[in-house]
Symmetry: C2
């Protein structure tokens, strides 16, 4: 299962759709293999873990992880446990984020969210059971991420300890969860552009950056390569979130597969609200340019990372 080596020369343009189809299928098979089956006790819990994990996520973080491994001369199969671990963490954070005490969202990717899907009835008790199951499914996916990560190969430069710390820090109280908290605390009040950057760096860029770094680590990358991947991941991650803000303002719920305009409704701080739409677009473009610059040392090997960054900036959903 060796990754694509095609370059992005004009005569042989990089086929991102084919790449994403292949990486998504590979990641889905791996996740299915890693996770306990729906027949494993407790069956409801394992269904509640698998339901949001296989609800049509775009698998962008795993794709970035695999592409980063490739850029460092590594192989997909060696990056796969880490790509899957990051996707489990991403999914857990969405499940908990959708809970009534957080964003209270009923729809995600056009489907009922986990706590809605696992209600046992429409009364208070039935809704409560749905929330409990979603809470525990999120906890279990977070825990499982570490179990899957433990399946990866250790390298001379990167031990299992390095991998473990990389994931725990990106997902922890000073990164991913710090972003969630700052986001919550920013609701309904004026947030500065600086505060908003703090939120987006943590809520989104931290895990994207972690995905890319883990891909490099799975390929035993050099310290210089790891630094380049860090720069790339940070800037793509931040751009990704700025674009998410923009799409929330400009697109319909149907296109997004989730409730549009809800950032505005929740009085959440967004780039368009603070710096305006055009300035937001220009910031996203600048961040992506910085990401492209970070890829230079990889030359042709980073074709997939390059194409993914283009895709993240040009997406309309």
């Amino acid at each position: 299962m060796r990754g694509s080596r095609r370059t992005s020369s004009p005569s042989n343009p990089f086929d991102l759709n084919a790449y994403l189809a292949r990486s998504t299928a590979t990641v889905n098979r791996a996740l299915d293999r890693f996770l306990p089956s729906e027949r494993t006790r407790p069956t409801t819990l394992h269904r509640a873990m698998r339901y949001p994990l296989f609800a049509g996520g775009k698998r962008l973080r795993p794709a970035l992880c695999l592409a980063a491994a490739e850029a460092c001369g590594g192989r997909w199969d060696e990056a796969l446990p880490l790509a899957c671990a990051v996707e489990c963490i991403h999914t857990y954070s969405l499940i908990h984020d959708d809970l009534p005490c957080m964003d209270d969202d009923d729809l995600r990717r056009g489907q009922p969210t986990c706590h809605v899907k696992f209600r046992t009835g429409d009364d208070a008790a039935g809704r409560q059971r749905g929330e409990a199951m979603a809470l525990l499914a999120g906890d279990a996916l977070l825990t499982f991420a570490f179990e899957i990560a433990g399946q990866c190969r250790a390298w001379p430069r990167y031990s299992h300890r390095d991998i473990l710390l990389e994931i725990a820090r990106a997902a922890g109280s000073r990164q991913l969860i710090a972003g969630q908290v700052a986001d919550l605390e920013g609701e309904g009040r004026a947030v500065t552009a600086r505060e908003l950057r703090y939120i987006h760096e943590r809520k989104t860029a931290a895990l994207l950056c972690c995905a890319v770094r883990l891909g490099g680590m799975s390929a035993n990358c050099t310290p210089l390569q790891l630094q380049a991947l860090t720069d790339f991941g940070y800037h793509v991650g931040l751009a990704f979130q700025v674009i998410d803000d923009i799409l929330d303002v400009t697109q319909s719920s149907k296109t997004l597969g989730k409730t549009a305009g809800k950032d505005v409704a929740a009085q959440k701080a967004t780039y368009p609200a603070i710096v305006g739409l055009e300035k937001s677009r220009s910031i996203a473009a600048q961040l992506t340019n910085k990401a492209f610059t970070a890829l230079r040392p990889f030359r042709g090997r980073a074709a997939a990372l390059d194409a993914l960054a283009q895709f993240l900036l040009k997406r309309d959903r």
Copy 2:
């Protein structure tokens, strides 16, 4: 920081109170050192992580971990990161267990539970914010457990990968969380003694057993020692939960520092409800005997483990 080496000979009885005071102080200092300070952003989150962690827990799991390390000739300081990791996981599971969608408990150890403490007001929005903060503090403590565990020393017999997998499996969807789910699903219906054992094995014994095994692993224990610790941890853990069930029936809220009789009120399955009080007491005694038998290979070195098991069986709160 070398652990006690006193034996339990009649002329020199093991002083468990002194041992627990010393191990608790050592663990508290280590947790304080490992965890981000309350001044670290986001400050509310770090306060919400520290509040339940320093709310007067008995630190039984860390004590078991340290005592297991001693029993295998190891040192407290090398077991400490793992003892602290287990305590973080225990605390996270209590925070989430107390949430309104789970057991909906306002009191824990005589203090307001995390989601009550971190309410920003008595209205729906204030209560929701308390729940969100407790949810995220739990998530962060679970994640942090892995970061702390990464601080431990690796040994020839036990790598960081082994440690990581040990924790992830004990805390995961087939052990700790499986117990929570089975417990929820057993509410309000007849549960068999077999089902109840499944719940208690996972909800309580899994993490206690993990604490003891990690202690042994931190001391580079032999496979035979690890097996003995596993037997010990499993039986002590199961006995511990049976006694918890018994105390819920027989003790007042004031003595327990939490709402007494709430297992009965919630129609939760308990040993006294299924097999009666006397039979429950005899089961607890049998389990503890099995635990003591498991300690034989350690001889005098297991004085602390032995005393802890006695304490767990004889406690009245």
